[in-house]
Symmetry: C3
Subunit: 170 residues, 3 copies
Amino acid sequence: MGHNITLVLGGARSGKSRFAEKLVVESGKPRAYLATSQAFDPEMQARIEQHQADRGEGWSTWEEPVDIVKILQEVSNEDNIILLDCLTLWITNLMMAERDITAEFKRLVDALPTLPGEIILVSNEVGQGIVPENAMARAFRDHAGRLHQDIAGAAQTVYFVTAGIAQKLK
Amino acid sequence: MGHNITLVLGGARSGKSRFAEKLVVESGKPRAYLATSQAFDPEMQARIEQHQADRGEGWSTWEEPVDIVKILQEVSNEDNIILLDCLTLWITNLMMAERDITAEFKRLVDALPTLPGEIILVSNEVGQGIVPENAMARAFRDHAGRLHQDIAGAAQTVYFVTAGIAQKLK
Amino acid sequence: MGHNITLVLGGARSGKSRFAEKLVVESGKPRAYLATSQAFDPEMQARIEQHQADRGEGWSTWEEPVDIVKILQEVSNEDNIILLDCLTLWITNLMMAERDITAEFKRLVDALPTLPGEIILVSNEVGQGIVPENAMARAFRDHAGRLHQDIAGAAQTVYFVTAGIAQKLK
């Protein structure tokens, strides 16, 4: 069965990526990893390498900061499972590339149910703190909230991870 | 039956207002909307207009940044349901107007169970990020947390909305 | 039975300390309070005094900003229950004292199951807002998330408190 979509949300260092990786490994399917991260600085480079080490062997890996729909459509097949980590970095990349955010979100949400294989999307909850003073941070926060609602609406399953513990929201 | 109080909490762009509006519409009662927002700038004006368009027809609407208890007492009746959106903006307005926050909170919490009709209050969760460097933001965050506890204590029902999905906390 | 470990997480002004204190009082055991807070300024001093007043009588109290494992090992016994409030302030204190964060976390997580008595640990969820611009705040947030995962893994019971309402996560 195709179009099995799962969203894994959680705060920073909540264990959301580890939980999502566990779901993927437990599926027993051939697994692909699509990273939206780019190593702009040593801090980010160290995070990426730590994540790779945590994930272990057995993954085919793609890195794409912006055109993730294109990669998803190329990589997804009836047998495999894709882990996309993470949506919030993708939003940042779209903003930096000055893409049309609404159009890109629609493109992703429309594409998800048409993928032949399973997909798990990871994203950061960023909307439960104080309103940021910075206008770009406010815009980012709004985009993230809207995308989470759209993806959660399209998903069969939604988890929220806190302190390494996953709650099933849907 | 009077004094039916519901609190809907959620982060920014979590879908909390839409969920609360759905609750109101599903009640089938005459519905009133009490907005605490004021259009200080084009960004806020655009948000208000978007919210109004999302809500659709069939609402009587009040706008009151500070003296919400007075409006609630005037508008509430045994047949209707009031949607108050949102408490966090009300707190900001109280702070800007240099009102006695503790007294205003007590006035609201005392008034809620005496209203003849149903009320749904919407508010932003703002306390789950990093401690703000700005002292006024810290004070705001503390006020919001205290008010949420007080309202949740007075409410029969409390929801927390994440990515458009409501969890019933109480 | 020893090593009964409970973690109580929640945002700022969520009612997490009050909920943890209620758990302690309901245990009926002799109760000890270990505060990690230090009164650096009048705002903090006022918070500490308010917390003490809220807690009421019947507690033996310790204050230790950094070497909490030493105090836990001295104070814990087969009969009593310790309330440690809070871990996030402890992390701040470790950072200010330039301690080895990873080593200190390991020391605590290793010590918890060896304590003869019961312990309830309180901590702030700080990872669900926007990424902080300040690098030290980002480091703090990462430390907090990692520690919460570690403590939650070692705990028998984990609660998340929102608006004074506790959800049992584990």
